[in-house]
């Protein structure tokens, strides 16, 4: 019944859209103008990010976790033009480089939080700025998280003090299709566009399980069950595939006939089908992950990661085979029944099965110490006898999240030519006592714990006696 109701709604929406297309016919240019063909302008809110000023810099003498699974003792990182120039144990420092003595310190790539709601659920957490869930329809693939991002969220500054240099900002999980996610560089900025990670692909937030069925079921609508969820995903992909076909046919006809009506929701879904937009799928249970994988195969797209993924360890072999990352926690479990089998060993078991384990936050407090969460996850794995190096655990918060965000070719490791997103830590980064002392983004010092001039705070925090949220 619920499924019928849902399909009827989709059908009605389709008819309505078709109607719009006819009535708007005279207004729309024929053939479609550039703004009507989704292929022509797929990036209407382009990044205006510019790296802050930097000088050629040498970080000398630290113990380095490269993010590639390597550990280098007494190493040097050379940064030039915002890029990693070289990393190693035996590198001479050119005379004109700023030399940073990092003896006794530790260096990692910038931390990447693969699941953040900064800006869309900003501080203070009051309804007027609570902009993360467009919970008005189970499919809101047309909304983009970036349009809710408030750059003055003090959380950005707080997590930077924890070493976070890039984040995936996602819509919430109320809907089957929550909308587009956006990858941001963690730089203080006046506009969202000035934070957008240049060249990072968009993501599409999808959600399995309890949340969508609770949100819509409690309103007497669809979906109200897990089978309703699945019918909702499939109906949407079907519609998207047909929409793509219509546009392809129209383009092939070289302007003969009417241009199909442009649909922002379907544009996003088609972006996924074409492999341009990465699916970021909130999903807790192993059995649901397997169903989502089958849906992806049915419609020919790929899932980049299961977020939260509390039961990833139960299908770790399947996920490794399919190349799907699991972004999860060490400490969070049991707050809902689909998370009751969450175990601290999850990331370690996913890793041990040859998969891509990621430690994420979903929380502006936890995001400030993802390094400690990775340590807890590593400890749990070791406790059940898994052999995992500290260098590998560092990948869970650097290279692996970069991979699932589609930016591993640009950041996430300390390799020559990559963006110089780097953290200098006061102690071993898996220690609770380690503080990020200097945070570099594209070679620029974005934060320095020992230099008041490099300790940004948001407009909201002006006149706060705490002197920021340190």
């Amino acid at each position: 019944m619920a499924t019928l109701h849902f399909s009827a709604a989709i059908l009605a929406a389709t008819i309505l859209l078709a109607g719009c297309a006819t009535t708007e016919g005279p207004v729309a240019p024929k053939p479609a103008g550039p703004n009507l063909d989704p292929q022509v302008d797929s990036n209407p809110f382009p990044s205006t990010y510019k790296a802050l000023p930097s000088a050629p810099t040498a970080l000398v003498g630290a113990t380095i976790f490269t993010g590639t699974g390597q550990k280098i003792d007494n190493g040097t990182v050379l940064i030039r033009d915002g890029k990693i120039e070289s990393v190693g144990g035996n590198i001479s420092v050119p005379a004109d480089y700023d030399r940073v003595d990092a003896k006794g310190k530790w260096i990692t790539p910038g931390i990447i939080d693969a699941h953040s709601h900064l800006g869309v659920y900003p501080q203070p957490r009051v309804n007027a700025v609570s902009d993360g869930n467009e919970a008005t329809n189970p499919n809101t693939a047309q909304v983009w998280a970036e349009h809710s991002v408030w750059p003055q969220d003090e959380g950005f500054n707080a997590v930077r003090r924890g070493g976070v240099t890039s984040m995936l900002i996602l819509p919430g999980s109320a809907n089957l299709f929550g909308g587009r996610s956006v990858t941001l560089k963690n730089v203080p900025a006046i506009t969202m566009q000035a934070m957008k990670f240049p060249g990072a692909p968009y993501g599409l937030k999808m959600a399995c399980g309890e949340n969508p069925k609770r949100v819509y079921g409690s309103k007497g609508g669809a979906p109200s069950t897990r089978m309703g969820n699945v019918a909702g995903y499939r109906a949407a992909w079907l519609e998207a595939a047909q929409y793509a076909q219509k546009w392809d046919a129209y383009r092939a006809s070289e302007g003969k006939g009417d241009a199909p009506a442009r649909d922002l929701k379907l544009d996003t879904l088609v972006g996924v089908l074409k492999g341009e937009i990465l699916v970021q799928n909130h999903c807790y249970r192993a059995d649901e992950m397997a169903v989502m994988i089958d849906i992806a195969k049915e419609f020919g797209y790929k899932i980049s990661a299961f977020h939260h993924g509390s039961e990833g360890y139960k299908v770790a072999d399947l996920l490794a085979r399919e190349g799907i990352c699991v972004a999860t926690w060490a400490g969070w479990w049991g707050f809902k029944i689909e998370a009751i089998d969450g175990v601290a060993e999850n990331a370690a078991l996913v890793h041990a099965a040859g998969g891509c384990a990621v430690i994420h936050s979903d929380d502006p407090i936890l995001s400030q110490r993802l390094n400690q969460e990775a340590a807890a996850a590593l400890a749990a794995g070791r406790k059940i006898g898994l052999t995992i190096s500290e260098a590998d655990a560092i990948k869970w918060i650097t290279a692996n999240p970069a991979k699932m965000l589609g930016i591993l070719d640009k950041t996430g490791t300390l390799e020559n030519g990559k963006m110089a997103d780097v953290v200098i830590w006061s102690a071993h980064p898996l220690s609770v006592y380690a503080l990020a002392e200097k945070v570099y983004i594209d070679g620029a010092v974005i934060y320095d714990r020992n230099d008041k001039r490099r300790q940004p705070k948001s407009d909201f925090m002006i006149d706060r006696k705490a002197g920021g949220t340190e």
Binding site: V126, Y313, W333, I337, V343, N346, P364, Q368, S431, T469
Partner: protein
């Protein structure tokens, strides 16, 4: 190898409960959380569930079972101040939540101890984090137009396996002020404080006019009889009133009110406590706080900072850590303490905030430190207990060694190898 020895001993201990005999933990790096402070290498003697002796140069009693700690750190069992352990199994399954009431007639009388589930799967997970004791606290419930301020009464539980958890019901009364209090009193602080004063006056009046109340010759009181009864020990200063409050100005207001009514209070939340640290210290009011709460999450905590614990401690305030994230994440309390140390709190003070301070502020004087005569709640750690890379290796509660596993750990082990001929359901 060291781990093997400890494990072997643990197996022996499990097979034969030690309470009957004498156990000595030797070569231990002991943080006593008591006057003796840190003992770089010492011995703890456990007999009849209690600490028979502790010190640097103790002779091990003949016949004692010896656990060689090999220089590892030994602390009192950790005390989770302010959790919902045993009272909330799954937050989003409301039937499993017993930590709040929306009753229109009961607030202060709400007694959380009746709802604590001894078989909770959450308790063993917390215990593996070294937690042996906890204060289980109610939170304010909402009802249709409900305007009752008190959240109810907390209970002290032991996390010992196989025992009845509640060791002290009705251990403290909970009250939420600030924004939450305002929301439960018509929407403004002005009504919350006024209602609170009226309630306290009513309880005082009731306490000396119970006969009039019973024969109906008394004016109508806002609170139910059960609530009035429950609040009598509070107005008499015999039951601790734990007040949730955040903004510096609200903290000052509460201190003044507590002084006027001679209440025995503990503050919880206190994100802006550092701004009024000297007032809190002067009033000798202890505080419970989460040292990682540093975001301006509301307009009553715009000055939240990671230095809060350190600054309050420096001013002379007694601090206990409450992580504020319920029971499932109670095990993270020790990491939160580590973060407080990273932001200026002396190490032994952080340990005290996890052990002796909560014990003393809840009047639970038999636990919280490693001292002669105290209950033997003791943890041997693989390393620094505040580090996520360390783990509890041996846990004693009242001298009984505890099982070192949980349902969650058993699940992880069940799925450690996949692709077996039979599904994991056959692994038992």
């Amino acid at each position: 190898m060291q781990r093997l020895i400890i494990a072997a001993i643990a197996v022996i201990l499990l097979a034969a409960p030690v309470a009957a005999g004498t156990t000595a933990i030797t070569n231990a790096h002991i943080y006593t959380s008591a006057k003796a402070g840190e003992i770089a290498s010492g011995t703890i003697v456990i007999r009849n569930g209690k600490i028979a002796d502790v010190g640097a140069n103790l002779r091990v009693p003949a016949g004692a079972t010896i656990i060689d700690a090999r220089g590892r750190i030994v602390t009192p069992g950790l005390y989770a101040a302010g959790t919902n352990l045993g009272a909330v199994e799954i937050e989003l399954v409301s039937q499993t939540n017993d930590n709040a009431t929306s009753s229109q007639s009961l607030s202060a009388a709400f007694d959380i101890s009746y709802g604590i589930d001894p078989d909770s799967i959450v308790i063993p997970v917390a215990r593996l984090g070294g937690i042996t004791r906890a204060l289980v606290t109610p939170v304010s419930g909402d009802g249709d137009g409900r305007e009752l301020l008190f959240a109810g009464q907390a209970a002290i539980i032991s996390l010992a396996a196989g025992a009845s958890p509640v060791v002290k019901p009705r251990a403290a009364m909970l009250l939420e002020l600030g924004e939450s209090g305002a929301a439960h009193a018509g929407g403004a602080r002005g009504t919350a404080i006024t209602s609170l004063r009226a309630d306290l006056d009513d309880v005082r009046w009731y306490a000396s006019h119970r006969r009039s109340y019973d024969n109906g010759s008394m004016r109508e009181l806002r609170l139910s009889r059960q609530d009035l009864e429950a609040l009598m020990p509070v107005v008499r200063g015999r039951m601790t009133l734990i007040i949730s409050v955040h903004r510096a100005a609200d903290i000052r207001e509460v201190l003044q009110l507590a002084k006027q009514y001679r209440l025995q209070i503990v503050l919880t939340g206190v994100e802006e406590g550092w701004m009024v640290a000297h007032d809190i210290a002067k009033a000798r009011v202890p505080v419970m706080l989460n040292p990682t709460a540093n975001l301006p999450g509301s307009f009553e905590m715009r000055a939240a900072t990671l230095n809060n614990a350190a600054r309050l401690d420096a001013a002379g305030v007694t601090v206990a850590f409450a992580n504020g994230d319920g029971g499932h994440r109670a095990r993270e309390g020790r990491y939160n303490a580590g973060n407080a140390v990273a932001h200026g709190l002396p190490y032994t003070k952080a340990l005290a905030a996890l052990t002796s301070n909560p014990a003393s502020m809840f009047g639970d004087r038999n636990v919280g430190s490693i001292e002669r005569g105290k209950q033997a709640d003791i943890v041997i750690w693989s390393g620094d207990p505040l580090e996520p890379l360390s783990e509890a290796q041996t846990i004693f509660i009242a001298g009984e060694s505890q099982p070192m596993t949980s349902r969650a750990d058993e699940l992880a082990k069940r799925y450690k190898t996949l692709n077996n001929p039979y599904p994991p359901a056959y692994k038992n």
